[in-house]
Symmetry: C2
Subunit: 132 residues, 2 copies
């Protein structure tokens, strides 16, 4: 029942670290050492962030990662969706089957509104804003 999983969590930290070193190029090894994470794992995260154009990478010797937009343009919700898929509280148990309560499933309706509340809360949160 976590809202944030480890991938997202690590990603946020990695982004902060890389942003703070900008415009220096930061290697996986450096991120790994500073955040104390297993290397192959953080590498995968950095790759995903690169594909999403949040980081840019340079290959080859002396290669590494830099931040490619200001923290104020990186939304927490986007990161969550990147690493965890769509935020949906009602992956309802009955999506496939015909719900015995179909049409007036009061539980689903209520959960849906809570989901909307959360997404709205998250929507405006940028990484910059997280730092205050």
């Amino acid at each position: 029942m976590k809202l944030i999983n480890k991938n997202t969590d690590y990603a946020v930290q990695a982004i902060y670290y890389i942003a703070q070193k900008s415009p220096d190029i930061v290697s996986t090894v450096e991120v790994e050492e500073k955040l104390g994470l297993p290397r192959p794992f953080i590498r995968k995260i950095l790759q995903i962030l690169t594909k999403a154009e949040i980081l840019s990478s340079s290959k080859g010797n002396k290669g590494g990662f830099t931040i490619s937009r200001p923290l104020s343009d990186i939304y927490l919700l986007d990161l969550m969706q990147l690493f965890q898929g769509r935020i949906a509280f009602t992956d309802c148990s009955f999506q496939k089957k015909v719900c015995p309560n179909a049409g007036h499933c009061p539980l689903r309706r209520r959960i849906k509104t809570i989901e909307e509340t959360v997404i709205n809360e998250l929507k405006g949160v940028t990484l910059k804003e997280l730092l205050n």
Copy 2:
């Protein structure tokens, strides 16, 4: 990323069914047939609800379950906690280790407030209220 899992979902439906038949005694078989669930599974759910004193059971021949409080006294949040444990969005990745960001983990702080929002939303929701 479900807020509600199947156990809770089924529990709500079972409770509604049993409440509506009150004061009749309802057997597992009947619940199973009406909700279309595998018997051993719904049995486990009904047992948990009985332990939680939401249902009362009578054993032996002609035994079964009845509702033991009005729907207005059954809170959705309690059911969720019963079947899913504590609602916590920040089972933070770093609870055990020393968090590199300890003390100023902005992510955790923010998620915590969202968690509180959700719990507050849920807190007042009784099964009766769900039906409108």
